[in-house]
Subunit: 131 residues, 2 copies
């Protein structure tokens, strides 16, 4: 894939995403970028996200089903989702899985992604009130 034009809009979006651990939605990206550069349109945010996704610079999370969230963390990683506060945390540690021979024969497995569910440290203490 060729190089891309360095427009101020794209640089602002990339800057916002850099090292961002919040798995922002498109709306969040748009809002934040617009604050600094009011001349940015929502369509451009969508376009840029698309471009970054195609280049593998960010990836789309499949955790929330109503809004897409994006993850600029380039390291292979998993996620922990807190059942209480719904926050999503990156898990960069390698997690080994044990696959049976049968499974390995049935599918050509290239990779895996693990979503851990539970309660984060912040929410642990409030555990009693959870329904």
């Amino acid at each position: 894939m060729e190089n891309f034009k360095q427009t101020s809009q794209r640089l602002a979006i990339i800057d916002y995403l850099k090292d961002n651990k919040n798995h922002p939605t498109v709306e969040e990206i748009f809002k934040s970028v617009k604050d600094k550069n009011p001349h940015v349109s929502l369509a451009t945010v969508y376009n840029t996200i698309d471009m970054l996704k195609k280049r593998g610079i960010i990836s789309e999370l499949t955790i929330n089903s109503t809004k897409r969230r994006y993850d600029p963390n380039p390291n292979y990683h998993h996620h922990f989702i807190c059942l209480s506060c719904k926050n999503v945390f990156d898990i960069e540690e390698k997690i080994n899985i044990t696959l049976s021979e049968e499974l390995k024969n049935s599918y050509k497995i290239h990779g895996y992604e693990i979503d851990l569910y539970g309660y984060c440290n912040n929410c642990k203490k409030e555990l009693s009130g959870i329904d």
Copy 2:
């Protein structure tokens, strides 16, 4: 939670979902159910899905980001997603994971869900043409 009224619409939807391994979308459910019972509305499909979800009878997949897919498989299981045909297969086998002490200390982990990615048996042979 109380019992629910057994309406013909609900029974048709439940019947369609029973043993369904296709992880259907709302649209697919609606279409199929409408064929047999033209007096069913989309809103009812949404309502019923919601009810079944709340009761834990079906679960919502977080694999596709544009349409929600539903899974009536009551057994705890993982998924295999074929990168070529995009089909989603249920993996009922238990997959063990190894979590570090540090991770176990940072989070109270209740469960996990694994998405395996790769190529299914059908698509394996066509592997060369994949981009």
